[in-house]
Amino acid sequence: MSVFRTAGGDAIDRSRTISFSFDGTRIEGHPGDTIASALLANGVHLMGRSFKYHRPRGVLGAGTEEPNALVGVTRGPGRFEPNQRATLVPITDGMVVESQNRSPSLARDIGAVNDLLSAFIPAGFYYKTFMWPRSFWAKVYEPVIRRAAGLGRPPEVTDPDRYAQRWAHCETLVVGAGPAGLAAALAAADAGGRVILCDEGETIGGRLRDMPRATIDGLTAGKWIVQARTRLENAGVRLLTRTTAYHYGIGNLVTLAQRCTDAGGARTRERQWMVRAGRVIIAIGSIERPIVFPNNDRPGVMLASAAAGFLHRYGVLVGRHIVIATQHDSAYRTAIDLAGAGAAVTLVDRRARPAADLGEACSAAGVTVITGHIPIDTRGRLRVSKVAIAPAPDAAHRWLPCDALLMAGGWTPSVHLHSQSGGKVAWDAQSAAFLPGTTLAAQVSAGTCRGRVTLADCLADGWTAGGGNGASAPAADDRTDTGMSPAEPDAHPEGARRKAFVDFQNDVTAKDIRLAVREGFRSVEHLKRYTTNGMATDQGRTSNINALAIAAQAMGQTIPGTGLTTFRAPYSPTTFGTMTGFTRGRLFDPVRTTPMHARAVAAGAVFEDVGQWKRARFFPRPGEDMHAATARECISVREAVGLFDASTLGKIEVVGPDAAAFLDLLYAGRLSTLAVGRCRYALMLREDGFIADDGVIARLATDRFHVTTTSGGAASVLNVMEDFRQTEWPDLRVWLTSTTEQWAVAGVTGPRARNVLAALVEGVDLSSDAFPHMAVRQGRIAGVPVRIFRVSFTGETGYEINVPARHALPVWDAVAAAVAAAGGGLYGTEAAHVLRAEKGYIIVGQETDGTATPDDVGLGKMVAATKPDFVGKRSLMRAAMRDPDRKQLVALLTADRSLLDEGTQVVDPASPRQSLGHVSSTYPSVTLGRPFALAMVHGGRSLLGTKLAVATAAGPVAVDVVDPVLYDPSGARLDV
């Protein structure tokens, strides 16, 4: 087996060997390995190229903090994902992994020329360079930048995997299953209530897994973890591993992303949990910081905690000759463990006099300790080969050969979730870190994420947070080497000419940060955006505090005085699949279809979306385009009879002793005088006097009205009605029921409409005396009870047959057959729009735009101004609402018979830069034998008979301003 594999490792299954390919090379590993651990086990450190300078990079971390080792992973056909952190992705047999940001290969990358040109691409380079000449932007700069920017290539096919979402509720949510989180969950489970424990790792234990020699309650750490799992499972705690809490929202709603399976296929790949928790215990630990010094980014240079993780979890030694640079205690444990696994280890401590017992322990383990020194440079093109150490950056140095250099720059408590919950962070001088401060959310942090250092403290802290009695907390032996001491973030001194990296993923150096300060950036939020420090996909986990320390030093300020950037969700990169869940494709938005939809499909309809509805727009015959089909459908209605599916109209049944009084208040017209069996067109206004909706209202009984609304307005009209009913006039005895889905509507219109109905309807006298225009009757068609409205939206004699939706098809089929027999046919919404526009009938939202009064659209007579009150009445009384120069509805006829565009501006030819109004509807008309338009024009009614112009791309087009009723102004055809 590979030369860097040791006997340890709790995550891998040594009994089996699997393989994957990395840039075409076959790599072997064990189940449980990550891509990073398998590569390191084979001595491969070079895993990527940096973003800006294309410098060779290896892993920096061993987990979610990894900034360098981003790879593209192919898990099978259609299953390619870029920018995966090699430290997180478990290997599977046959997986194909490719490195990124290099060409032609990782070892020989042409982009590395950027590293040599780095003097010319400092912080803010884009902002400074691509300003001039302006004409270069679109053709030269942007294409080049776009090619160079970004990380991996995007997937090219639709994600074939399944993603799920679910809600969960619990009394206690514990985030993080390290020592503190496990202790908290155990205590919470003892206390009772539903407990959910989640951890982003493959298994529970967290950093405890890297402390094999620690003991808890007399057990080794590994055995205690196993025991804790059993106790939690027996107590009914929901344990979610491979699950990242990525968003902490208001109301203690924490969103988790669970990676269910890496394979995909029939099983759900990822699941989003939306957990509403009574309280949240945040135990997400801390992340180690690198040390900022020149050339601190070569492959083989990594965090000490990463080396510990690779050793203890995967049984991988990151090198044979290891130098550890530290400024605090926690690296000593790692040094001793690495030496114990067979590496030659030299520990370089910045402190002149570290604790004596640590020195003794190192001696016993064969670790060489050099005190009072810091690393100041490294060598090695594709892998670190030596490190220069010196007492100070400008002092005489000496070289130590090595194949791995570990950095222990101190620990940064993860306050992300605390901050997302609305909590403040506060600088703690003793830990030299930002720690969770006050919060209004029902949450508490525990363990190293709130500055607890030793294992015993973390266990006790978690136990107490979980509701346990402090005295009964799990007891750990508190050996020095299980602790981690704080350290001041390293502010590297001025003057280094070589690159000392702060943000590894965005290639931000200490020099860049100082440059930004010199250029006047003072706010940390500005520094962040100008230098891009912390803006990469790792969100500055390893870089923010170092950058802050350097900026503070450059400004001569303290770190807390300089401030901290805001923590935003998601905590770590989360797939769109997780957030999207089931709501994709067919399930993205509900599709509403009418009961007759299948008939329209069978008739070859072309549909349009109206809100969520699918409406048949036209029914083309072979060779017909929309205009041809619509023209034929219009002729059919005008000369014979047409059948229209009007089921999408909103319908509300308004019932009660005060129903009429209620409608008098809600609508501008007077409904209380409407006789039973009659119907009336009515306008609903907003309180500001403008048209909100329109429809026909039928009175079926003294206390019962059938109200129709526009197709798109049904929900909002009901909402407005409910609002006034519940909160303004709660004393009125009236009840509202939406019946939109309960009634299907077949509109039959045209000169032969009455004849068609006569052959079908039972129990209704269709003569105009017995059943006049704007009346409603109840009868039967094909044995089904129907409500028939005699109304017209076309200008022809018309009937709208309301059928209970579940009986719609037999009625529709009977009517369709009769219509066809009478020489008519189906027509769609496009023809309906043309027919209504020829009559000057408005569509709310087409002619009106939220600033039109009834009088503006020629419907002033629909307002019962003598009513003492109705919604919108007071506003209509304002002088401005009666200004004769308001925009008014007119029709426009182009002198050259051209078709205008909707939305174009109406102008006076004498001063064409001044808009007089706009075109609201425009159609070709076979009935009129020419195109026409409706428009809203200032003082339009006073301009009837004059000539204006409409501005088009080709210049002004002369138009005649005419009355909006172009077809049958006398209305004679409504009663044929």
Binding site: G251, G422, Q726, R874
Partner: protein, 95 residues
Amino acid sequence: MLLIECPHCGPRAEIEFRYSGEAHMVRPAAAAACDDATWAAYLYLRDNVRGEHAERWRHTHGCGQFFNVVRDTLTDRVVTTYPAGHARSAAGGEI
């Protein structure tokens, strides 16, 4: 996502509700008789409170009832909820 205590149904997620603007806006009793300034104030003037704000919500995907919520606009926390028509002062505290 807010957790809102509907006075009729109990605590529910925000997606079940629809926001409906500031609460306790009194429609002038004799609307047609009031002066332009009074009417304009009713139509357009709102407080934009920094802190506790009384506002109307409707439990659209539940009981359908309008009710009032006091929410702190600084912290986005729901302080209390109470049925429509109840005075704000009388509602403070538990439902």
